[in-house]
């Protein structure tokens, strides 16, 4: 098979595999998809199939996982994906104002990407850090908390 992923990504997937019994390689599929997405930006059908083959599981089973969990992106997203938590605790602490500022600055709504392909805005559910809200995730992995309409301006400017 041709390798769609870099050696560095495969090393990470191999590390995940060490956690589970040898006959349970499918347990690593969530991490493998995350690692693939981190390298390639999103999960195409080919990528998902590659991951499935690598783990020796049916492609349809990997596809089911990729569609079930909402941090996987099955279509291309901007270079900077910003997922803002708008759930009640964050909303009480000002998430609506932060959302309005993000949308006004970028000229897009939730679920959209700027024309230059730089930013994607997503609405997220509770991230388990409510006391620090309003907050967002940058490209799934970096949390920025205590957001205000002023601080998101700077956050966007700092993203190259």
């Amino acid at each position: 098979m041709t390798f769609m992923l870099s050696a560095a990504s495969l090393v990470q997937i191999d590390h995940e595999l060490t956690k589970y019994p040898p006959e349970q390689k499918q347990s690593a599929v969530m991490s493998a998809l995350r690692i693939a997405q981190a390298e390639l930006g999103w999960l195409s059908r080919d990528t998902i199939e590659f991951v499935a083959n690598y783990l020796g599981m049916p492609a349809i089973a990997a596809y089911e996982v990729a569609t079930f969990y909402n941090m996987y992106d099955l279509t291309p997203v901007g270079r900077h994906k910003i997922t803002l938590c708008t759930n009640l605790p964050c909303q009480l602490q000002g998430a609506d104002q932060v959302a309005a500022q993000l949308q006004a600055r970028l000229g897009i709504g939730f679920g959209e990407t700027t024309a230059d392909g730089r930013y994607t805005l997503k609405e997220g559910e509770c991230m388990g850090a409510c006391g620090h809200g309003p907050l967002c995730l940058h490209n799934n992995h970096k949390m920025h908390d205590h957001l205000t309409p002023e601080s998101v301006d700077k956050l966007l400017d700092d993203m190259k």
Partner: protein, 436 residues
């Protein structure tokens, strides 16, 4: 503070240290002493379970089930592998305590899981970590590496001849994986859809093997209990509600955050610790145990103590200890609209009453909030709720109904006002208000 003295900070005592999460801080202050004693003395599993039962430790993940009793369900003579699984899939709106345990005291969770593994005869353990807290997933793995290097995990732990290992499994954005059987499916590399019960995980769990699942805070309390005895833990709290509990306070308080206090602490004291209600406002309502818990009006809350039994008696639940505070600026219809959207979005879709019902509830609340409600809508909400509860595979269906029924029960007038006047009354100046 340290683990050497039986103080009320069971899980978050490391916060006063420069390097709260390090193995050095933990071991210098009594960490891993309980484990060392158990391994050296080969303490019988029954003795450990007896201490946990005496402690009246109740599950910190939401249901408040007695942990000692749960541990006694694991089959003793099962010939193959068994597992201990920790639930750090913290995604119940309002809850953010388990993240702080991982950030500030990862080794106490590791020690608790090792002791649980020893007691239950497990070969390995997994900690399922919420998808949105990636940095904590990494930092907990780093703590595992530290523990392994110190001989606390892996083969022949501390020269005892006993082998046991721990791993982290990372979620990727699905609230339903907090439900314990959905979580097991997810570790197996599948969609996180809850299983039918029975069989229960104690007989058919991860990979079909006997498995015990506990919340992060539950497992992190174990080293404290074994260090000071079940009786001391019980005495921290009140009968049937042993120990301290971390309350995650969010919303309209001056200092949102985690506060670890004895169970049975008056709500008024807890509110004061969080800096009181947002300056310039008065308390309107509180959700005392995470978004799935029924809301209670201010006057009820102010007379309650924070423990499983008192909150249940008042018609709500302590749940995960997530206290969402709402002041007089909150429109209860709008607040409920956001919560019902959450359950609609997170339903796994397996059961028709939950899949269809959560969408239906959301759409009706949405139209009431947006001035298109009909007079019959309010009773319709209650009727739909009754048809969801008790008719689903997991408790998410019921969790979606709890807020709806309680918001309508305690704040019905606000819903009626929206329907009658096509707008909200909250925040209007007195002269604009329509009577009635």
């Amino acid at each position: 503070m340290s683990l050497n003295t039986p103080n009320t900070q069971v899980c978050l005592w490391t916060l006063g240290f420069d390097h709260p999460a390090s193995l050095a801080t933990y071991t210098a202050n009594g960490g891993y002493e309980a484990l060392k004693k158990i391994l050296a003395e080969k303490t019988p599993a029954d003795d450990i379970i007896a201490q946990v039962k005496t402690s009246a430790l109740r599950g910190r993940g939401g249901a408040g089930f007695p942990t000692g009793l749960k541990w006694s369900f694991m089959p003793r003579s099962f010939p193959g592998d068994k597992y201990i699984v920790c639930n750090t899939d913290e995604g119940e709106p309002g809850t953010f305590k388990d993240r702080d345990i991982i950030r500030f005291n990862p080794h106490q969770l590791i020690e608790g899981m090792i002791i649980a593994g020893y007691t239950l005869g497990a070969a390995a353990g997994y900690n399922y970590i919420h998808g949105e807290i990636f940095e904590e997933y990494h930092s907990w793995e780093a703590a595992l590496v530290e523990a392994r290097a110190a001989g606390l995990l892996g083969r022949d732990i501390l020269g005892s001849g006993w082998n046991f290992d721990l791993h982290a499994h990372h979620g990727y954005g699905a609230y339903i994986c907090g439900e314990e059987t959905a979580l097991l499916e997810s570790i197996e590399g599948k969609k996180g859809q809850p299983r039918f019960k029975p069989p229960f995980p104690a007989s058919y769990g991860l990979y079909g093997k006997p498995t015990t699942i506990n919340n992060t805070e539950t497992l992190a309390s174990i080293p404290w209990i074994l260090r000071h005895g079940g009786q001391a833990f019980l005495e921290l709290g009140k009968p049937n509600n042993g120990g301290s509990k971390i309350f995650s306070i969010s919303g309209h308080v001056n200092k949102p955050g985690n506060y670890e206090v004895p169970l049975g602490t008056p709500f008024a004291d807890l509110l004061a610790m969080a800096g009181g209600v947002r300056t310039g406002h008065t308390l309107k309502a509180v959700i005392p145990g995470g978004s799935s818990a029924p809301v209670l009006p201010a006057e009820m809350m102010m007379s309650l103590t924070m423990d499983f039994d008192a909150i249940a008696k008042a018609g709500s639940m302590l749940g995960s200890g997530a206290v969402i505070v709402m002041d007089d600026s909150v429109c209860m219809v709008k607040a409920l609209e956001r919560l019902s959207y959450f359950y609609f979005e997170e339903s796994c879709g397996q059961c028709t009453p939950c899949r269809e019902g959560t969408g239906w509830l959301y759409r009706i609340i949405h139209r009431i909030e947006h001035g298109q409600g009909r007079p019959e809508d309010i009773d319709e909400l209650l009727r739909i709720g009754k048809n969801i509860g008790g008719n689903t595979i997991c408790a998410l269906g019921e969790a979606a109904v709890g807020p709806v029924a309680s918001f309508v029960k305690h704040f019905r007038r606000e819903f009626e006002y929206h329907v009658e006047h096509k707008r909200c009354q909250v925040g209007m100046s007195p002269s604009d208000k329509v009577e009635g």
